[in-house]
Symmetry: C2
Subunit: 558 residues, 2 copies
Amino acid sequence: MEKSDIVIIGGVACGCKAAATLARRNPNLRITLFQKEDDLSYATCGLPYFASGDVDSFRALTETSYNVVRDVEYFRKSKGFNAVTESEVIEINRIEKKVKVKDLKTGDSYDHGYDKLVISTGATPMKLPIDIPKTDRIMPFTRPEDARNFRKLAQTGEIGSALVVGGGFIGCEMAEATASLWGIETTLVEMENQLLPYALDEDMAIPVAKEMEANDIKFHLNTAVTEFELDDDKVKVKLSNDEQLQVDYVFLCVGVNPASHLAEAAGLELGESGGIKVNEYMQTSDPDIYAGGDVVESIHQITGKPIYLPLGSIANRHGRIIADHIAGGDEKFPGVLGAFMIKVFDLNAGSVGLNQRAADEAGINANSVWASFVDKPDYYPESKPISLKMVFNPEDRSLLGIQAVGKGDVVRRIDVFSAFLQNKARIDDLLDFEHGYAPPYAEALDPLYQLGAIAKSLEHGFEQENPGNDYSRGDFILLDVREPEEVEALPFKAENAIHIPLNDLVDNIEKLDKSKKIVILCHRGMRSYQASHILKTAGFEHISYIAGGTTLAVKSLA
Amino acid sequence: MEKSDIVIIGGVACGCKAAATLARRNPNLRITLFQKEDDLSYATCGLPYFASGDVDSFRALTETSYNVVRDVEYFRKSKGFNAVTESEVIEINRIEKKVKVKDLKTGDSYDHGYDKLVISTGATPMKLPIDIPKTDRIMPFTRPEDARNFRKLAQTGEIGSALVVGGGFIGCEMAEATASLWGIETTLVEMENQLLPYALDEDMAIPVAKEMEANDIKFHLNTAVTEFELDDDKVKVKLSNDEQLQVDYVFLCVGVNPASHLAEAAGLELGESGGIKVNEYMQTSDPDIYAGGDVVESIHQITGKPIYLPLGSIANRHGRIIADHIAGGDEKFPGVLGAFMIKVFDLNAGSVGLNQRAADEAGINANSVWASFVDKPDYYPESKPISLKMVFNPEDRSLLGIQAVGKGDVVRRIDVFSAFLQNKARIDDLLDFEHGYAPPYAEALDPLYQLGAIAKSLEHGFEQENPGNDYSRGDFILLDVREPEEVEALPFKAENAIHIPLNDLVDNIEKLDKSKKIVILCHRGMRSYQASHILKTAGFEHISYIAGGTTLAVKSLA
């Protein structure tokens, strides 16, 4: 029986990173990596962009920056370890410390011994609870072959219409890919009442839905597929809302599960999510077996609770932790914050930490503030909007999470906030934040600084309204303090609206009824905040303003 | 004598922010702001972009986002305080708690009493130690009138050539403004041996200089102006390097001094820099007098030492601290980290914290690492390079500062690093950073994570060479591990160069002389790092690699 010091199962993100790092740290180790597929170390997260045509060839996803394919030879010569492809590990024998490998080319099986084993088998697509007819027209979208299959059909012009099942990350990315680059008539169905249901609160998902609509994606929320039926090259689809569709292609993007069957069969402990349980060194319940990447369960840094978070960036970091520990180091994986980004047409959306719903579910005292900004000063060319929602604990002022959407620079705010969360920062710390300021990059006061100030303003009695609510009717006066041109250009549907520009408010305050609740609206929220102050000073008692203004409260726009 | 609860001297960034915030916090206060100029609350940092034509009108710099000019009426009606323009405060009487105001329209003077006084008088241009002839063709660039003056002349086509004296922020911005948007033949002189001498280390300033050169800016480093002479509409300029120029316009961008004469005359304590000394509440040595913005001296958060840092973003934050303290709050200004950003043609450059030189001067044990990255995966469209230099304390692994240059997304890394510095983070914390990852925004591993890994690699015996050095000759073998196409496209000038692509290194290692020092080169530094490992494993002892690769070591490119 052949034996290696280190055997690694799975060669995409975590596996290859662990192998390369370990080979560098300890060149005397014999490291063997088994990969079921032919491709190694491909950029899984790039698959939607290969499918869309943004990325020309699949090869680009497997190449280094200097156009050398990351294949068996590359890993041997440049990275110092052995990769064996088209070889599936089908069994782990923990007692004898060996794995059984099936050579997929010959069908033969053989044993291979290990001192330390790394499981990085990734994830497998979740299955819908209905029958899926066998056809290359109804496919998940997680593997290179899925992307190749779609692109082959799309290139020959055979796909005029497509259905995306699932409005999570991959679903939203695929909807854009099909509609924007191939001009395919695209419909999306999602069982929850919003897009990106686990990443964003409902109110922050509305701008994403609006962007989809603006780009001619049809979608059905609160809707499931109840039946697929093949009709020649067409797929007939029945939905739970009794609608029927006929499309040329169906993407099943309903999420993934950890591919933990091997680990489970070997008696390793799994978590609630089905992911392998690991400690901070990425060791499983067997200390000679490590696991990382999409196959493990993570711990959330804020809640301290298990969470399943399959992300390529995290998988790579797992790889380093595993290598470091095997090499005798003491680096620890700190748990996850759940940072994510997604591009949907021209809109950028992202989040890190807990959203309001997640905080509520975790039983954490949480409050939210929203605001809209521009990513550069208004006077600077190509200044674009961003809207943010920050979740925090009003008791100890600790930061819990942020969500951001807009055509402007969203990712910078997600990343900076992630650094603050990692450092267990408080609202007060945002007011101490010193950002890199110059007009081509930022406003003089950073959006996170401003959010900190807004959160503190709640302590001074200012009140925000959730921009995701419907303001078309209700028991309040809507005071629109925008300029006449703005109101004309972007009407806001609300009964009982009265329009007084901010600069005229002091002189026209008698036009407002002090006994009524007054909800104030402007473009981004700042004028409404100022108007709240003016009304408070004038003795009004029931005042609030729509957070983020018309930039964020897009539901009530005409 | 009229009297206000609060008198504010100066109405640009800090003064207006303090007044508006205070009016909101305590509407019962009578607040009066005196401004020498006619314009209020204009975006000083936007002046170069108005001069260049990027920003159409000066009015845009004085407007709110909804096109209302921030004038006396706006501040009274929307912000709740009185601003009095064209009125210069010429004396502070601390005993009687009053200021003497000169009405610049009538020439009359009058007294105005205060309970609390705020000094936000900004900065004035530093003077060259030579005679400056009186002409509208040799001007500083700090005030609206400077920008208007230049633009008026530029628009009429009267300026074919210009000299920028000083290679700091404003100097570099003006060089771009004149050359790129007006097509003016532009020369820049700088007394120090590099551009942006206080913000960047010499090696990180080289790419900025290269970008200037590529855009036809001529410049002289280590050079001073020794004489100006007028010749009709031309300015004849003598330089310390004995060259002579004749230009149509001269920008004096040699820095600014705090405009602290009023404070000094009133006996308030000044710091070494000439800026007003303030405590963490922005109180001067007289607790009834606050000061903020470009007129005060700051304390650096890392060195704990005084520093003069005139920046609009910081001035705005000062305004809030002052208002909060007067209103009875307890917010403190934490000191500065010195974050800055600058756009020079297509290049973005920035820095936060200490550079190597500043750390050395402060007597802090400091080491640097460099690396080059792309801001998105190579396979993703419009992926652009960024190069970073991180300064840290190798003893306790604390972070000290970062510098970044490149056509890619620089500002995000400056901002995230600033958050880490604020939180007194260590190298290890960078390895715990969870960034918002998706191919349109980032690589799977964040550049800051990678820098953390590189810093730790030094502890494992890897050695970097400063990319700012000259590698054209020296007692070493330059091992270029790039692919043949890369070497051909971007030749690197070095004697004793040998070219072996990384993937061929293991098989050709006998071509290298073990007794010689070997310096390794690639495109970004990562392959060289890997090649260092391969040589170490093969028993080589004198190995190092050029940090950041050809992306950063631009000095030695052909």
